[in-house]
């Protein structure tokens, strides 16, 4: 017999949020991404850590294989305006509806552009563990509420 607590949805224990973390492009600064990985784990999420030098293809493949809920991308060398549209296009092409959170050095002036493109949230250096986990959770719930 199925008890309420085993059921899905309200009142049930939800499966942990699965987050794919990656860095696109050539930049090798992975300090922030690694710290974020540990923060998200501490917040009870499952982290699929792809690490450095990923391509849009490898990220999409990981999202599909791992059935990920959220993608977290680390940006350092001002490549965000080139890389963000690429990953969003690749997601659309694959029919995946997964929110993308960007972390790293993103100038204030680009925030609006990124939101317009469809990036769910941008985290800056110095973001706390609570802010990081919250950005992931709210990106996901906003996306789910949109359907």
């Amino acid at each position: 017999m199925m008890t309420e607590s085993q059921g899905e949805g309200v009142g049930g224990r939800e499966a942990p949020i699965r987050v794919v973390l990656a860095k696109l492009g050539l930049d090798g600064h992975d300090r922030g991404l690694k710290v974020v990985a540990r923060m998200l784990r501490d917040a009870g999420m499952e982290v699929i850590y792809l690490g450095l030098r990923q391509t849009t293809e490898s990220v999409i493949a990981a999202v599909e294989q791992e059935d990920a809920d959220v993608i977290g991308l680390s940006m350092h060398n001002a490549g965000h305006l080139a890389l963000a549209p690429r990953i969003l296009q690749a997601l659309a092409d694959s029919g995946l509806d997964v929110p993308v959170v960007i972390g790293g050095i993103v100038p204030e002036a680009d925030l609006y552009t990124l939101k317009e493109l469809g990036i769910s949230a941008v985290l800056h250096p110095g973001a706390s563990a609570v802010e990081v986990a919250e950005a992931v959770r709210s990106s996901l719930s906003a996306r789910r509420a949109g359907h």
């Binding site: 001002a78 100038p107 110095g126």
Partner: protein, 518 residues
């Protein structure tokens, strides 16, 4: 200010300029010669950077420092569709072929300047291009002066700009050390860099221990390749970070000199004084700069610069306050340089060598930094069965370095998070962040110009000659007893691209893929 006459040095015991050089490598330190104010710069095309170089020379500078863009640093050509799009000329200058290196140094007498090139994975190609420019403009190789970073070991540990696996990469480094020792006596073939280890999140003691270990690893590799330690050790130099914990940094710099001198003498049998002296460049901690209230970074940088100077650095780069946000604007870079000039000319700290020597706290901190770093060295010796080089390989393979650095980075972040560590403007004193700041933006036309330039070069070159030259590179790579430098110089002279040469080498050596460990 009051003009009280002061001696060049105070105290007793081993003085500055005396083994083990804890107090500095020169007897009078900055009173005899001020540190070099070396500012790292470069963006856009080679022609743009050449203009900036000529400005520096016109204003009396003699040292040129080159920052390359990410594709160049990773051995990828600007027209590499998968990896380079969007990154060409952004974080530094793009150099694909000898033609770009010729543009970079056009109308500059390479025999009269000293050039620093910050590049590691494909360093052999950059050095070959530089040599080719000198050869082709009639400058004798013996007159070439400068430094190429070429510290591949820290790439696997921290900065991650590797191409090939560690062992073949070390073969390339030793080939370069042999070549420069024989043909370019004024060239520094490796700058052993703790800077990036620290930026990646290590503690000061880890920065010190890992960096010195890497230094000893290069010494062991060169000795194994048949070089005499006193023939090359004087041209090894170091590059350290200066972070905000003031006395810890000063202790770190003093300990670095002491450990290097004692180990070089006792373990590696160096006898020449210059082989025992740890000479180093310092850069303030980019990672300590905050995006919040960026102007307050000016104070951080000044304090870190002062620590570098009180620690006895030979040269110094001060970060610009807006670097947490983007590449520095000219104004921010100028303020950073002016901060060094204030330390040099207004504070009086340059008048006395090692002014903190003898302070109970500073001496204790120096001993403590030494103790912690030596513990790391012994751990690596044990890992490597009596060889630091083997220990470093093992620590790279088993994730010991990256794991240790990630642990420290996470500990730091948790302390900031729970408020036990205060970062002004980030987790306390946060009022006043108006966000407004003019940032440097690099436009897309740099990439378009570079793609056009590369296409022209490829069009004009003799493809058959390129193929032959690349074949020779591949064959030499296959033969560990032949030096790779000469065939790589031939290949760049045939206008083979950096990407083609690196691909050829990767065909023999393979490409390094890091295990993704959190």
């Amino acid at each position: 200010m009051s003009g009280v006459p002061v001696d060049p040095v105070y105290g007793d015991g081993p003085m500055p300029g005396q083994y083990p050089y804890t107090r500095g490598i020169y007897p009078e330190m900055y009173r005899s010669r001020l540190w070099t104010m070396r500012m790292f710069a470069g963006f856009g095309t080679a022609v743009d950077t050449n203009g900036r170089f000529k400005d520096i020379l016109r204003h009396g500078g003699t040292g040129l420092s080159t920052a390359f863009d990410m594709p160049t640093l990773m051995g990828r050509d600007s027209d590499d569709a998968v990896w380079s799009a969007g990154e060409v000329g952004r974080a530094g200058v793009a150099v694909d072929t000898l033609a770009d290196m010729e543009d970079l140094f056009a109308d500059i007498d390479l025999g009269a300047v000293s050039t620093s090139m910050t590049i590691n994975g494909p360093a052999i190609v950059a050095l070959a291009q530089y040599i080719a420019v000198a050869d082709n403009t009639g400058v004798d190789r013996t007159r070439l002066s400068g430094t190429i970073q070429n510290d591949i070991l820290k790439e696997y540990q921290a900065q991650k700009e590797y191409i090939f696996p560690p062992r073949p990469s070390m073969r390339i480094v030793t080939d370069m050390m042999r070549f420069t020792t024989a043909e370019m006596p004024r060239w520094h073939p490796v700058s052993i860099s703790g800077y990036h280890i620290r930026e990646a999140g290590s503690t000061a003691a880890q920065e010190l221990g890992f960096t010195l270990a890497n230094g000893f690893a290069y010494v062991e590799a060169a000795q194994a390749a048949g070089l005499d330690v006193d023939d090359f050790a004087s041209r090894l130099s170091f590059f350290f970070n200066s972070h905000s914990d003031f006395f810890e940094e000063i202790g770190k710099f003093r300990a670095a000199r002491r450990i290097w001198a004692t180990w070089m003498k006792e373990r590696y049998g160096a006898t020449s004084e210059r082989s025992l002296m740890c000479r180093f460049h310092t850069q303030t901690a980019g990672v300590s700069l905050t995006a919040q209230q960026p102007e307050i970074n000016i104070a951080r940088v000044a304090i870190q610069a002062l620590a570098g100077v009180l620690g006895g650095t030979q040269s110094l780069h001060t970060d610009a306050f807006d670097e947490a946000l983007a590449l520095p604007t000219e104004k921010a870079a100028r303020i950073a340089l002016r901060s060094q000039q204030i330390v040099a000319h207004e504070t009086g700290v340059a008048s006395v060598a090692d002014p903190l020597g003898g302070s109970a706290y500073v001496e204790w901190m120096t001993d403590e930094m030494e103790r912690r770093a030596v513990e790391i060295l012994y751990h690596l010796l044990e890992l490597g069965d009596g060889s630091i080089l083997e220990g470093v390989y093992e620590g790279i393979d088993n994730g010991w370095f990256v794991g240790g650095i990630a642990d420290s980075a996470y500990r730091f972040e948790r302390e900031v998070n729970d408020g036990t560590r205060i970062i002004v403007g980030v987790n306390d004193f946060c009022d006043g962040d108006d966000g407004g700041s003019n940032l440097l933006r690099i436009e897309q036309d740099t990439e378009d110009l570079q793609l056009k330039r590369l296409a022209e070069v490829k069009q004009a070159r003799d493809d058959e000659a390129v193929r032959r030259a690349l074949d020779a590179v591949g064959q030499t790579a296959d033969d560990p007893n032949t030096n790779l430098m000469p065939p790589v110089i031939d290949a760049v002279n045939a206008y083979a691209t950096e990407g083609e040469i690196c691909d050829t080498l990767a065909g023999v050596f393979g490409r390094y893929v890091e295990q993704a460990i959190v």
